[in-house]
């Protein structure tokens, strides 16, 4: 089954344990103000705005034999200046590829035996559960571990086939309070919280990710509530909590001036987690 792939990072040290190939799918169902890769959110509308702006002429607008418009990306000319994604009016990118699970896995195989697994991220990869199920089956046959990096807004308990081939999940909890969550992302978080408990219960919750943005919500309260929610499960399956300082890199202009939390505040948040018995707390 085909999906739009934003990019594949051959060696990633930040998408789960060990060295992993990370696959970023295009398209997201929420709109976080601090999104640091907003170009993964929307689908290309083939408007061609980026084509004229590309300083390297690495993009071309063509009409196919069947009369459809296509934006052709010439990778060899690209210098990675990112002008195309900055000018895109649809939070998308012309540098994506349509790939099926076999094509993606062919790209993964190039990294073996240097990787221990793969992680699918986005965008929001849970919008493509069938693709992931097929991809993970191929990974499992090759003895690679499989992880999902998700914003948690899609109910995992309704995807048993996918979970059967998924080793674990890294879950964002953008805010514990539903109103805060809605303000930050434009979406409610009832499913996110349900997922956190469901995945923790089933031993599939590897990591919870909390982006700390002091200007947007009360992270201290949120971390407290998350710790209370997950502490009972942490005893059986050590859950890693990753506290991520908001940084303006990649963030859209209108949200770039949000305050970056200081190290002392991050330290305070991690102490809350240690006090609740979480031993694997990362601050990045």
């Amino acid at each position: 089954m085909e999906v739009v792939v934003n990019k594949i990072i051959p060696f990633s040290s930040v998408d789960g344990p060990g060295n992993r190939t990370a696959i970023f799918l295009q398209g997201c169902n929420i709109n976080c103000k601090y999104c640091h890769n907003p170009e993964t959110r929307g689908m290309c509308q083939k408007c061609g705005v980026c084509v004229d702006k590309c300083p390297q002429n690495a993009l071309e607008k063509r009409i196919t034999a069947t009369g459809e418009i296509e934006i052709v990306f010439k990778k060899e000319l690209c210098v990675g200046c990112d002008t195309c994604i900055h000018v895109c009016p649809h939070d998308s990118s012309p540098r994506t590829s349509v790939m099926d699970e076999k094509m993606v896995f062919d790209e993964v195989k190039k990294q073996m035996p240097f990787i221990r697994g793969i992680t699918v991220s986005g965008g929001e990869c849970m919008l493509q559960p069938d693709f992931m199920t097929e991809l993970f089956k191929l990974a499992k046959e090759a003895n690679l571990s499989t992880m999902i990096d998700s914003n948690g807004t899609i109910d995992f308990s309704e995807k048993p086939e996918l979970l059967a081939v998924t080793d674990s999940v890294m879950l964002d909890i953008k805010a514990f309070d539903c109103n805060d969550h809605h303000r930050i992302t434009g979406a409610n978080n009832d499913i996110v919280i349900k997922n956190a408990v469901f995945l923790a219960e089933t031993g599939k919750l590897f990591e919870v990710r909390i982006v700390v943005v002091p200007d947007l919500y009360d992270a201290e309260q949120s971390v407290n509530d998350i710790a209370n929610l997950l502490a009972p499960y942490n005893a059986q399956n050590n859950i890693r909590i990753k506290l991520i300082s908001y940084r303006p890199m990649g963030v859209r202009e209108e949200y770039k001036n949000l305050k970056v939390p200081d190290a002392k505040y991050m330290q305070k948040l991690s102490q809350i987690l240690y006090n609740q018995g979480f031993s694997d707390v990362l601050v990045v």
């Binding site: 051959p10 060696f11 930040v14 190039k110 035996p113 240097f114 990787i115």
Partner: protein, 514 residues
């Protein structure tokens, strides 16, 4: 001994005076440099015809380089004593009985180190430290053991004034090995260089991760493909100096290197390089090495008189020699350009194919060259990918990809290297500075080591891009010491001067961070 001109004598006298007056050299460095100048006046070797034109040239045309071994080698370049024998039996010459506890074992080793010569006059190998100390580790409580070993390592750093000094640990986890990693993480000194021998069957992830954690703090240990070395050199091998695989209880008589880029400059085209220029230079270098070895064995008296040989801490028939090379990438790029073929080393299959063809020619030459004093390695030299020297300009170490031209993705970089590491039992290696975020995920490096060694890579080094202690080419320096030296202050390790040269000429601070 042949006569030399008075002009050469006077030039050397001036050089000696300059050394005496130098503000940048410590007393020890002055003594060593003056001795080298005196040695340079000797003419006792029977040199092959044609050598002078290849050897005594500026760095942009020099084809053979003998790496400061002097004109009359009075000892082998690299000496690898049997320290286990010493700790078991003691030493008559040094009037030391076998040590009974950790205090005595460490003190004995520190005494012994002061009597192990080498090209640097410091020991290039300080032992398989974990195995040496493990039998004594429970003679004191753990806190004391840690304190003693920390003092031992500190003592080495401040008295072995050259970071071409190497200790080994692994592949098995040991209590002593753990303590060594702990104290090294705390000390963050340049000396000694350390290698962990890694074997996926024998090394535990827990111990290897501890080693990686240490490497991210202080650029050591590096990781050696234990199985690969055992297959070539048997279990009785060590890693010494930069990353040199050598026989235990022996070492290497000499190391000379081919500067492949400059040999390529002499060639009209690829065919001329392969069939004429390269074989011509290899032949002269091999015969030059033969002559150096002959002098060491037959004339210097080293193996007859030195206590290391007399008491069996080293054995003449466990010595070999290292047939080195630099600039494979340079040669490939120059030759492709001469042929008008597109492609650069590290970025094209054509370039890598040519690189492999050149390595096969060198390997075949070496396998067909006979030296009667290299019995331990089948009467052949061992190939060595030399890491470069401070004076190198536009010379790429060994078979590395030039700094600034590393492939965008680490996987592509590693796959290029995997074609070349296998040729070099006496050492090659690649170095990867890694981003600080890897500190949170040391398993990332563990996976790369496992994958790399499964793919026939031999030797890998990692350091954190923000560490003070960093790896220059094969040895370690502290960036803070380089800064002092750059302001013309004397610094304790002579290798800091080499590091400063390498940072200016070799761009070692500009490696691609992974």
């Amino acid at each position: 001994m042949r006569d030399i001109s008075m002009e050469r004598v006077n030039n050397t006298r001036q050089d000696i005076l300059d050394i005496i007056k130098s503000s940048e050299l410590t007393h020890e460095q002055k003594v060593v440099n003056m001795a080298n100048q005196a040695d340079s006046l000797l003419e006792v070797l029977d040199l092959p015809d044609g050598l002078d034109e290849l050897l005594n040239q500026p760095i942009d045309t020099q084809c053979i380089c003998d790496l400061f071994e002097g004109h009359a080698p009075l000892r082998p370049r690299y000496i690898v004593p049997d320290y286990a024998k010493f700790l078991k039996e003691g030493c008559k010459f040094l009037r030391l009985d076998p040590p009974k506890d950790l205090y005595e074992a460490l003190n004995h080793l520190l005494i012994f180190y002061k009597h192990v010569p080498s090209v640097t006059n410091y020991p290039v190998y300080v032992g398989q430290l974990d195995e040496l100390l493990e039998p004594f580790i429970d003679t004191v409580d753990e806190g004391t053991a840690k304190k003693l070993i920390k003092m031992f390592m500190l003592h080495m750093d401040r008295t072995i004034l050259d970071s071409f000094s190497h200790g080994d640990i692994g592949p098995m986890p040991t209590k002593a090995g753990r303590i060594i990693l702990e104290v090294e993480s705390e000390l963050q000194d340049a000396v000694p260089n350390i290698t962990m021998k890694y074997d996926p069957e024998l090394s535990t992830d827990e111990f290897t991760l501890k080693a990686i954690d240490c490497a991210l703090k202080t650029a050591k240990p590096s990781f050696a493909n234990h199985r690969m070395f055992v297959n070539e050199l048997t279990e009785n091998y060590v890693i010494a100096s930069c990353y040199n695989g050598l026989p235990y209880g022996g070492g290497s008589y000499t190391l000379c290197r081919l500067i492949l880029g400059n040999i390529a400059k002499r060639a009209e085209n690829i065919k001329d390089f392969k069939e004429n220029q390269l074989p011509y230079v290899m032949d002269i270098m091999a015969r030059y090495m033969d002559e150096r070895i002959r002098f060491e064995v037959e004339e210097s008296g080293f193996f007859d008189n030195n206590f290391l040989a007399r008491e069996g801490f080293i054995h003449r028939d466990r010595f070999t020699a290292m047939f080195g090379l630099v600039g494979l990438a340079d040669a490939v790029n120059i030759l492709l350009e001469k042929e008008g073929i597109e492609g650069r080393f590290g970025h094209s299959q054509v370039a890598e194919k040519l690189g492999v063809e050149i390595m096969d020619i060198i390997n075949d030459f070496n396998n067909n060259h006979y030296n009667k004093y290299c019995e331990i390695t089948g009467n052949h030299f061992l190939l060595h990918a030399q890491v470069g020297i401070a004076q190198d300009v536009n010379v790429t170490p060994g078979t590395r990809i030039p700094i600034g031209e590393e492939p965008e993705e680490l996987i592509d970089h590693l796959l290029v290297l995997s074609k070349f590491h296998k040729y070099f039992p006496s050492g090659t290696g690649d170095i990867f500075p890694v981003d600080i975020t890897v500190h949170k995920n040391p398993e990332f490096i563990l996976d790369i080591i496992k994958g790399a060694f499964a793919k026939d890579l031999r030797y890998l080094s990692f350091y954190s891009s923000d560490s003070d202690t960093i790896r220059v080419t094969g040895y370690l320096v502290k960036k803070s010491e380089l800064e002092k030296l750059a302001k013309s202050e004397a610094v304790i390790h002579d290798t800091s001067a080499l590091g400063l040269g390498a940072s200016r000429n070799g761009h070692i601070l500009e490696r691609k961070v992974r």
